[in-house]
Symmetry: C2
Subunit: 126 residues, 2 copies
DNA sequence: TTTGGTGTATTGCTCTACTAATACACTAAC
DNA sequence: GTTAGTGTATTAGTAGAGCAATACACCAAA
């Protein structure tokens, strides 16, 4: 179940997007499963339907879900794979940012790698 | 000379901060050099003095520059080094973002490294 | 064809970030 | 002490994002 943090600076619709992505990845919703209706989810999250609609729209635009007119929203067949690809694309953006910073500082790739490893080591990633 | 992109979503004061950092790094302004006065820069960039003031204030808060009352703004002695540290901190933030994404995807550190290397290789970083 | 379920469009409120106009206060040099 | 230069404070306008109230349009099943 998605939880909304009202006091977070992250917009509610964004929290919903991320929550749905997590649930799809976790298998709560499998391919072609029907998602909760906009209205139902709006009620259970105590939020305006438009806020849910915006989240669903963005998920649909990204190809993660699709609509059947008059029926509801469903999970796209390959959306788990797609989400992985999206995640990689997101990571690539951050890496590009890092590279941009590195270049303005005249750091070479070896130095960048060293910094990356250092932070990674700190973090106890599995 | 700093250029302002009016149509950019990046706030003007932010563009000025980054521009100044670049110029200091490039040696346009060395340690204890005096920066253009708030008014002068405001005129030459066709911007309100408060906008410049905000940029200078943030640079001062970050320790990159300092003010002499009634005289102007000057470059801090070690600001080139400081900027390098700041850059590393910025990079670390991005790395943390990457790690957060990786964890939500259940990627282990080896996979993260592989992705990082792949993007790095694409980029021809020196 | 009616009913109860879908998603959608319109409109307006609120909050925040950003920027500008303007007036102020301080300092140094003459 | 006057002047011409600093940075600073106050106030207000503008634009945009986010969200909700409300009404609309569509579809499917009975």
């Amino acid at each position: 179940m998605i939880k909304i943090n009202e006091s977070s600076p992250i917009p509610i619709y964004q929290q919903i997007i991320e929550g749905m992505q997590r649930e799809i990845l976790a298998g709560v919703f499998a391919a072609d499963d029907r998602l909760p209706s906009i209205r139902d989810l709006a009620i259970s999250l105590k939020v305006n339907p438009n806020t849910i609609a915006r989240a669903y729209q963005e998920l649909a635009t990204a190809g993660t879900i699709y609509f059947k007119r008059g029926q509801g929203a469903y999970v796209t067949a390959k959306s788990a794979d797609d989400l992985l690809e999206q995640a990689k694309a997101e990571m690539a953006k951050h890496i590009h940012e890092i590279i941009a910073i590195a270049q303005s500082m005249n750091l070479d790739r070896q130095q960048v790698r060293r910094i990356f490893d250092a932070v990674l080591d700190q973090q106890e990633v599995k």
